[in-house]
Amino acid sequence: MSKAKYRAKVIEKERLSGDIYSLLLNVGPEVSEAVPGQFIDLYSEDKSRMLPRPISICDVDKEKQQMRIVFRIAGAGTEEFSLKEPGDEIDIVGPLGNGYYMPEADGNECHVLLGGGIGIPPMLYLAKCLFESGIPKESIKTVLGFRDADTFLAGEFEKYSEVYITSDNGAVGIKGNVIDGIKEYGIKADKIYACGPTPMLRGIKAFTKENGISAQISLEERMACGIGACLACVCKSEEVDDHSKVNNKRICKDGPVFFAEEVVL
């Protein structure tokens, strides 16, 4: 009984672009365990909405017990959260799931973070943790893929990493996706960490396999329990999974971050 649902207080709210919002939350001591790639479950106040909304951890301040999330308004739940103001509260559970496996600090390897669209937020906390683990900034490279000129968070990555931008319509950075970015910017990756839409992750899985690069990718699926009990959120695994005894892994519990070779996309 080490976990519980608790009320987090909103400290700051910011609209980052069109429909993308950032909330800074005062959370509990649970935050001290948070690793990059994990998520929290947020609950709606509205009783007609029964299920939690999973949102990735974008940043953490363990000392202040604060957590930041960045999300896009995708429906009624995220809209409700976007209307919160400093002082308001939100029920949350978490951190949940397994985050990115953190490498040894090794100055010779190049760590490339790939974030696509609303998959960008969790990469920020990852960039920060890699940087704080002693990896030099030049060895951390972030490629951010946007739809158009409506970018967000890009500036914040510069504290921890070199930043490269792509956009679907070419309005900012290179025209194309994050893999086009790696190629065109001539980035040599030893380890890849990614979060974004499934087609992008599929591309990354193929690209890293071809090039023998280790890749961790963060998956998304509709969730109910968020803790591994209901089997709503499975993805296909290459091998029979030890828990399920079939080729299914639970994204909420076994993931959301997997090594690319573990899963079928």
Binding site: M50, L231, V234, S244, N248
Partner: protein
């Protein structure tokens, strides 16, 4: 104060258990609830061999509820016997094992393999709307229900609970068929078949097209069916469908249920079961109820 209840000779220290499939085998919820405070833990449906379940998306939210088409993914009874049951025996709670199958033989096979296990009660799921074979096919026809009940009962060492589907014209007809077939108890309701369409993508919200609706939305329908069944048969009933608070649990008991299961509400609050146990006690204290049986079926 006495909150204990008796289901076919098995005494639960309080009437609260969980709805199959919403709580795994309890393991994941131990972070949030002390399983020993529950009357029983009811496990996810288990088959004779591992099942992979349906493609994703498997769930969708609906007004005051949700739809699921998990498709009874489960690791099979072997793993269940080796891993899940030994884990559950560490807690001071009853164990209700939910059983699924594609054919009568499947059910009998699982039930026999569970014979010498620590399972206290077997809940036979003949009402899952999300699988092509077995499941609901047995639960929508009284003759088929009678037959499968009889076969399972003959094979089972533990008392059997037949879990009824609400997707029927007359739930009492099904309850009587299960009673006639030798059921020791009944549980109801399983989910109600529903559908949701993503109008922007012009696609079904769950890959299986249809799914089972659960949660508070269906509570009035569940309460009605528990009431009808309680009048129609003598068997003890485990009532469920949208229970999210102690008040909801008491509503089912007053409708005639002996015990209650909490399902979808676990997703809104993973500690809700413990709160419901406590809330029932508080209600009994406030209302001067000595024994929970005093209010069972008390509306007339």
């Amino acid at each position: 104060m006495n909150t204990s209840v008796d289901i076919a000779g098995v005494v639960m220290k309080n009437p609260v258990t969980v709805a199959s499939g919403t709580f795994g085998s309890g393991m994941e919820f131990t972070d949030f609830v002390d399983l020993s405070c529950l009357g029983a833990v009811t496990t996810k449906g288990v088959a004779n061999v591992p099942w992979a379940g349906n493609p994703t998306p498997r769930i969708a939210e609906t007004p005051s509820g949700m739809m699921n088409a998990i498709g009874l993914q489960n690791p099979g009874v072997d793993t269940f016997l080796k891993r899940d049951l030994p884990f559950l025996t560490k807690f001071d709670t009853r164990i209700i094992v939910n059983v699924c199958g594609r054919s009568a033989e499947d059910y009998v096979d699982v039930v026999e393999r569970l014979a010498d296990s620590p399972a206290d009660l077997l809940e036979i799921n003949v009402s899952c709307p999300n699988v092509k074979e077995g499941g609901i096919a047995f639960g929508q026809n009284p003759d088929a229900l009678y037959d499968i009940t009889k076969k399972v009962k003959n094979a089972a060492k533990q008392p059997i609970i037949m879990k009824l589907s609400p997707n029927v014209t007359d739930i009492t007809e099904m309850a009587r068929a299960a009673e006639a077939g030798g059921a020791d108890a009944l549980s109801l309701i399983n989910t109600i078949t529903g559908m949701k369409i993503d109008i922007y993508k012009r696609r079904f919200a769950v890959a299986n097209k249809t799914g089972g609706v659960s949660g508070p939305a269906i509570r009035p329908i569940a309460v009605r069916m528990v009431y009808q069944v309680a009048k129609a048969v003598k068997l003890p009933i485990i009532g469920m469908g949208g229970i999210a608070t102690a008040e909801d649990a008491i509503e089912f008991i007053m409708a005639g249920a002996t015990a209650v299961s909490v399902g979808t509400a676990n997703f809104r609050n993973p500690a809700v079961t413990a709160e419901i146990v406590k809330g029932i006690e508080d209600f009994m204290t406030a209302q001067g109820i000595e024994d929970i049986s005093e209010i069972r079926g008390c509306v007339e």
